[in-house]
């Protein structure tokens, strides 16, 4: 028993476990359904120090994808199923000589708002193998091994990689047109290595212009079109900060280029939204950055006061402190206030509202922060969600994320630290989590405007960390190409689109023309309890499943309703017209198109 027999080999060697109790334990683990490509690495008797149930005896199983725990004691049914990708830190707690019950073991910090603690027997370095293996498989990149996404052999009927095709999305938006053209100047990532290959730029700009502008924008992230308003042709353009520096450099090409953007829809003034607080924008001059000054004629600059990645990281850390493991009860609201998390959400949302409002008023806008891959992505994608109902569909949201976040180089690898052991890395930050939180806030305020439900948002956030799919891996497209993500890994959207019904909101009523302005006042924002506090059994047990069950029934009812409506329309259009004239009209008119829409990927 003492020797770690099964460390490196396959652990299914039951000859030494003979008691009925042990076989029961084996059964518990045998029931774990592994993914194709997932392999057992080690299992071990441990005590899970559960913050809610106390010490729970059981067995832990480590695979190359997850940490699985099941309690032995049938009275306390505790099980854990944690993708190793969610682990940010593994530490030994206590030493061979430490006293006290359950003081020797492992302490695991997760990226998804929880920590795990396991105690082991003190004799014979019992934790060493577990620690080493966990460390190796949780942080494969630090050990020169591949992420699980590359080993995953799952098969799905849908191929999520085809969900977003840049040219088709531009076509959907009505591009190219006589003011905007599509350029492939970046096809080898030579203009900008963190941008996608396909870009939309002002029609009148030449490739030479683009190259010159790139020299004046941080990391070559030139202003390019993200979205165009179908009617008024106002656009959302994104970029990084101009390289003004301490000496206040100017760049005529950049100035002219921004003016071309303004001209494209004849606005008198182009609004530049700098997501940063103005002090930070000024401070950036010291490192060669800065913001657009008066030399940009016909442009106004607005600072949106959104804090940087470090502030956001600390804010979420504070939030975790008050919700895990125990929820701060006595001064809940003021503790929540002191994390400033909701305040940050408010600023991001209200920034996006300003952008959306400008654009729907017919004025083009440019959005940037420092590098244009964090706050900028939040602002453009949220504004697009407000302006364009397409992005509020299940597939539309996928396109939005693929486009504004993944293809435009939000540094997922750095922000999340996939497979990397360096948990103190200052580059890590929950910027994308914050974006999903903002989306959730919008779904709360507009319960019928989104085709997807909360479950989708939770699934996205789970796989942001899991490393089961290639979707959120790497910092930019060039890195993804190099690492052959699209051919060697699966897309998260394959999973989602193969089982769409569990992600649908039964109350969705498509309204194509409507701009959604959420209320960004603190009074109307809520903490996303079912995400941030979901590990707390009290929150878990709040009857979520019956509601979901009921929602599914409602979806079935809705489908039946739509089917009957369709039949009615087909059989006799005249007799149904009176019925359709009233309240059922919006439902009816929009019922068929989205269904067809869902079947044809863009």
């Amino acid at each position: 028993m003492a020797s770690p027999v099964s460390v490196y080999s396959n652990t299914r060697d039951p000859q030494i476990r003979t008691t009925a109790r042990d076989s029961l334990k084996m059964d518990l683990l045998a029931n774990v359904s592994l993914l194709p490509g997932e392999e057992r690495i080690i299992d071990k008797d441990v005590i899970y120090i559960c913050p809610f149930n106390g010490a729970v005896k059981g067995k832990v199983l480590i695979t190359n994808y997850r940490l699985y725990f099941n309690s032995v004691d049938l009275d306390v049914l505790v099980s854990l199923d944690v993708p190793l990708g969610a682990i940010s830190r593994v530490e030994k707690m206590g030493g061979a000589s430490s006293r006290g019950e359950n003081s020797y073991g492992l302490d695991i910090t997760c990226k998804d708002m929880r920590n795990l603690r396991f105690a082991l027997k003190q004799e014979g370095h019992s934790r060493r193998d577990l620690f080493e293996l966990l460390f190796r498989y949780a942080f494969p990149l630090s050990h020169g091994s591949p992420l699980f996404a590359y080993l995953n052999q799952e098969k799905f009927p849908e191929n999520g990689w085809s969900i977003y095709k840049p040219v088709e999305e531009f076509r959907r938006q009505g591009l190219p047109n006589n003011k905007w053209r599509i350029t492939f100047i970046n096809k080898n990532y030579e203009l900008c290595d963190t941008y996608p290959t396909v870009l939309a730029v002002p029609f009148k700009s030449t490739e030479e212009d683009l190259k010159r502008v790139a020299t004046f924008r941080s990391r070559g992230r030139i202003p390019v079109l993200s979205w165009i308003h179908r009617e008024n042709k106002a656009v959302i353009v994104r970029c990084s900060q101009p390289l003004v520096g301490m000496s206040g450099k100017r760049n005529k090409d950049d100035e002219r280029y921004l003016d071309l953007i303004r001209e494209a829809n004849d606005t008198t003034k182009l609004t530049i939204y700098d997501a940063r607080p103005s002090v930070n924008a000024v401070a950036n001059k010291a490192t060669g950055g800065g913001y657009e000054g008066d030399e940009y004629q016909n442009a106004e600059l607005v600072f949106l006061d959104i804090q940087n990645i470090h502030v956001m990281r600390e804010s979420l850390k504070k939030l975790k402190d008050i919700v895990y493991p125990t929820v701060e009860e006595s001064h809940w609201l003021s503790s929540l206030e002191s994390t400033h998390w909701l305040e940050h959400i408010k600023l991001v949302l209200s920034g996006a509202i300003q952008v959306a409002d400008k654009v729907s008023g017919g004025h083009s806008v440019v959005v940037h922060c420092s590098d244009g891959w964090d706050r900028t992505a939040q602002l453009t994608s949220l504004a697009m969600l407000m302006l364009d109902s397409h992005f509020r569909t299940l597939r539309g949201l996928q396109v939005l994320i693929e486009k504004e976040w993944i293809s435009f180089g939000h540094k997922f690898a750095s922000r999340i630290g996939h497979g990397d052991k360096n948990h103190t890395d200052q580059d890590r930050s929950p910027i994308f989590v914050q974006f999903i939180d903002c989306v959730w806030q919008m779904t709360k305020q507009f319960p019928t405007a989104f085709e997807f439900n909360e479950n989708l948002l939770l699934t996205i956030l789970d796989h942001l960390y899991s490393c089961r799919f290639g979707t959120f891996l790497y910092n930019c497209e060039s890195a993804r190409d190099q690492n052959e993500v699209r051919t060697k890994t699966l897309s998260l959207w394959s999973l989602v689109n193969s089982k769409m019904e569990i992600y649908l909101n039964p109350f969705y009523t498509p309204e194509s023309g409507r701009v959604l302005y959420p209320v960004a006042s603190m009074r109307h924002l809520e903490l996303w309890v079912t995400y941030y506090i979901r590990w707390n059994p009290r929150i878990q047990h709040q009857q979520q499943s019956p509601v979901e069950q009921r929602y599914r029934e409602l979806l079935a009812l809705r489908d039946e309703y739509l089917k009957k409506l369709e039949q009615l329309q087909m059989s006799d259009s005249s007799s149904t017209s009176s019925d359709l004239a009233n309240s059922s009209a919006p439902n009816a008119s929009s019922s068929t198109p989205p269904k067809k829409y869902l079947r044809t990927p863009l």
Binding site: V323, E329, L333, P447, T509, L527, I533, Q542, S583
Partner: protein, 467 residues
């Protein structure tokens, strides 16, 4: 006076604030004067419900949904050990009780009369809930008048003994801290001491009431109507108002009461001081938690009628002015609003288990303060009879249940469950009732519309499924 003008700001009981600019100062003053007088009528019979004539209805024969008599006659299981007593038929034993109350069969009216003398306001222990599953009951009363010289009342002891006949013990949920309960001796009140009520176990759960609640509401409404854009202290302000912690106490005390009956399997007596406020709040919430029949639209309204109207909550005193009154009113207190808020929390946590909609709760919160109907007039049944409320006004509850209105107040997602619904009372599970407290903001209106839309959708699908 020409050219002068005045502004009248009307702060309504439903938290709305309306401003009128009126040309002519004298005119303006006259209007203000009229509004002031008409909004503070003392004489019940001059209040609007006595003049209100709905277009479509005649006064039905019976006012209200039910009477203690019909309620009792429907509960057959009860009849073996409990009887309907009309000892209070002329309201002389307890002015705030209805003419008929349910008491242990073994206890005669003479005992009740004596026990009533030992309870504040004559509110002797009466049954308010019978738990079919195990035959346990919830009984409510006011505090015993023990006083400084520790009086006893053998009839009261006998009555309570009869309540737990056949069981080993009962619980008393006293909604005061034990210190407060002892201090009540000084003013003639008190509590059931262990030595006199041997088989009763007392649990003290302090609940705020009266002025403290009122001040909490005022603070909350102030925070909600703060027009300044500086909202960064919103959560602190919300916390400082303490409203949500009152909601929390209400739900957790009700949870405790429900646990006594449902999980522990014992009967319970609930009281505080007068037994007309928090006792009703707690017994109502506990019934919603354990009794599925209270969770339908009718069931809930009938529960309110039994506990709050027949049970003698002094609506006229408690719901006279709401949050904006400048006079310091001794009797004003938003206990009923606290009930509705607590029910809303239940509704939010169990979106399928309750048969009524948020709109119903909003409507009740409005009607309790100002109404076309006579339902919330006066302080108790006796006063309502004396004023002729039942003969000369219309009943709100009956109107809410009219076929044309029903759909509007029903929860389309309702799926009755036989299970108890145990609310989570952790602060992060409780939320500000935005639909009420922020109801005059644009956002609340939009959300209301959306809920309406969802309701219509579900109703439509449901009808189709049936067809």
């Amino acid at each position: 006076m020409s050219g002068s003008s005045g502004t009248i700001t009307i702060k309504c009981k439903d938290m709305r604030v309306i401003q009128f600019d009126i040309p002519g100062m004298e005119q303006c003053l006259n209007i203000a004067h009229s509004i002031e007088i008409l909004s503070c009528l003392d004489n019940v019979c001059k209040m609007y419900p006595f003049f209100y004539k709905p277009t479509d209805s005649n006064l039905p024969k019976q006012w209200g949904l039910s009477t203690p008599e019909t309620h009792y006659s429907k509960m057959k299981d009860l009849h073996k050990k409990w009887r309907l007593s009309s000892v209070n038929r002329d309201y002389s034993v307890c002015p705030s009780y209805p003419p008929a109350v349910i008491v242990p069969s073994s206890i005669g009216d003479d005992v009740l009369i004596k026990a009533a003398k030992f309870r504040q306001g004559g509110r002797f222990p009466v049954l308010c809930y019978y738990h079919r599953k195990n035959g346990m009951v919830i009984v409510r009363s006011s505090q015993p008048l023990t006083g400084a010289n520790r009086k006893r009342c053998s009839e009261d002891e006998l009555l309570l003994q009869a309540v737990i006949e056949g069981s080993d013990k009962g619980y008393i949920i006293d909604m005061r801290s034990s210190q407060q309960a002892q201090q009540a001796w000084m003013t003639g009140g008190g509590f059931e001491s262990k030595s006199c009520y041997e088989r009763w176990k007392r649990l003290h759960r302090h609940m705020e009431r009266g002025k403290v609640l009122q001040e909490s509401l005022i603070k909350l409404v102030e925070a909600c109507s703060d027009e300044s854009h500086n909202m960064d202290r919103w959560l602190s302000k919300l916390e400082n108002s303490k409203w949500l912690s009152h909601v929390q106490t209400a739900l957790s005390t009700a949870g405790l009461l429900a646990e006594c009956v449902e999980r522990d399997g014992h009967s319970a007596l609930v009281h505080g001081y007068e037994g007309t406020d928090c006792s009703l709040l707690i017994s109502t919430l506990a019934q919603l938690i354990v009794d599925p029949s209270c969770r339908s639209l009718e069931g809930f309204l009938a529960l309110l009628e039994r506990e709050w109207l027949q049970g003698g909550h002094p609506f006229q005193q408690r719901c006279a002015h709401s949050a904006f009154s400048h006079a310091r009113l001794q009797q004003e207190s938003p206990v009923f609003l606290l009930l509705l808020d607590s029910v809303w929390q239940l509704w939010r946590q169990f979106p399928l288990a309750l048969g009524f909609s948020e709109v119903l709760l909003l409507r009740l919160a409005t009607e309790a303060y100002a109404s076309d109907y006579g339902t919330f007039l006066c302080n108790n049944d006796q006063e309502r009879c004396a004023a002729g409320v039942k003969d000369r006004t219309h009943c709100l509850f009956q109107s809410l249940l009219k076929p044309t209105e029903r759909d509007y107040y029903s929860n389309p997602l309702y799926e009755p469950t036989e299970l108890a619904i145990w609310p989570s009372v952790h602060p992060q599970s409780l939320q500000l009732w935005k639909g009420f407290f922020l109801r005059w903001t644009e956002q609340a209106r939009l959300l209301e519309e959306v809920q309406e839309e969802i309701r219509n959708m579900v109703i439509k699908w449901g009808k189709l499924a049936l067809s």
